[in-house]
C-alpha cells in the first residue's frame, strides 16, 4: 500500500513536539473530534483514537518531532505517522509485546510498556511500519469503515 496516494482525502496534518508529555493526547483528541459527526460509528472512532494516541506517544517518547496525518476515504480512515527519530533497528522485535527501549522517566508516566505498536497493529485492519536507523520511522494504519 506504500504507493497509494490518499492526498485528496487529507483531513488534517498535526505537528507533534518530541518529549512534550504535557500535551500528549491533544492531537488524538483533535483527530477524534474531526471524525465525529461524519457518520462513523463510535466504536470505530475509539479504535482510531487508540491508534492515534499510541502513534502520538511514540513520537513524543522517541523523536525530536513528527507529524500525524489523517485521511478520510469513503470506505476507510488512514492514519500516517512520520517522525525524524532514531528509527527502529529490528521491527520484528519492536512488535513483540513487552519489548521496549523506553527509559525510566517515560515508564513512570505509565508509558513504555512495550504495548504501543502492538496496540496499533491490533486495532488496524492494515498496518505498515518502515524505519531507517538514524533517520526516522513511518507508520500507516488503515481502519476500514465497513467491517
Amino acid at each position: 500500500m506504500s504507493g497509494d496516494d490518499f492526498s485528496e482525502s487529507l483531513e488534517g496534518i498535526y505537528h507533534i513536539q518530541g518529549r512534550d508529555f504535557v500535551d500528549a493526547g491533544i492531537v488524538s483528541s483533535e483527530v477524534k473530534k474531526s471524525l465525529q459527526g461524519k457518520g462513523i460509528s463510535e466504536s470505530i472512532i475509539r479504535r482510531i483514537a487508540v491508534i492515534t494516541f499510541e502513534a502520538e506517544i511514540n513520537i513524543i517518547s522517541y523523536a525530536e518531532q513528527g507529524t500525524i496525518q489523517l485521511f478520510i476515504e469513503p470506505d476507510a480512515v488512514i492514519i500516517e505517522a512520520n517522525d525524524a527519530g532514531p528509527g527502529i533497528a529490528d521491527i520484528d522485535l519492536a512488535l513483540q509485546e513487552g519489548y521496549s527501549t523506553a527509559d525510566d522517566s517515560i515508564r513512570e508516566l505509565g508509558f513504555g510498556a512495550g504495548m504501543g505498536l502492538c496496540n496499533i497493529k491490533k486495532f488496524s485492519d492494515i498496518f505498515e511500519l518502515t524505519s531507517l536507523v538514524g533517520q526516522g520511522t513511518y507508520l500507516r494504519s488503515i481502519v476500514k469503515l465497513n467491517g
Partner: protein, 113 residues
C-alpha cells in the same frame, strides 16, 4: 448504576465534574496503571481505577469515553490534571483505599446491579 450512586456508596471524593455524576452511567470497570493497557482493554462507560495522577490520564479517559477515573491510595491528582479533566468533562474521584479494595467493592456493586 450512575456515577453519583457509586461515588456515594464508596465514599469517593469528587475533584471535578460534579454536575456529570448523576447523568453518567457506569457500565463496567477497568483497573490499571499502564496507559497502553487501559487504552487497549477498557470499554466505553467503564470506571477506571488507577494510581496514576498526571494529566495524560485525562486524555486516555476522554479518548476511550470512560465514565470517570478513581485515583486510589490517597494520591492527589496534579492541579493540571484536574483542570484538564474539568475542561474535557471527565469526572475524577479520589479515595484513601488501595486499588484492590476499591476494585472489589466496585465489582460487587456493579454485579448486584
Amino acid at each position: 448504576m450512575n456515577l453519583e450512586t457509586l461515588a456515594d456508596t464508596l465514599g469517593l471524593k469528587c475533584k471535578c465534574c460534579w454536575e456529570k455524576l448523576k447523568s453518567t452511567e457506569v457500565k463496567g470497570g477497568y483497573a490499571g496503571d499502564l496507559l497502553s493497557d487501559v487504552m487497549a482493554n477498557s470499554s466505553a462507560g467503564d470506571i477506571w481505577v488507577t494510581r496514576q495522577v498526571h494529566q495524560n490520564i485525562v486524555a486516555v479517559a476522554s479518548l476511550k469515553d470512560l465514565a470517570g477515573i478513581v485515583v486510589v491510595q490517597g494520591a492527589s491528582p496534579d492541579k493540571e490534571t484536574v483542570d484538564r479533566a474539568s475542561k474535557e468533562g471527565v469526572p475524577i474521584m479520589v479515595t484513601d483505599m488501595a486499588k484492590f479494595e476499591v476494585v472489589g467493592r466496585i465489582y460487587r456493586l456493579l454485579s448486584e446491579g
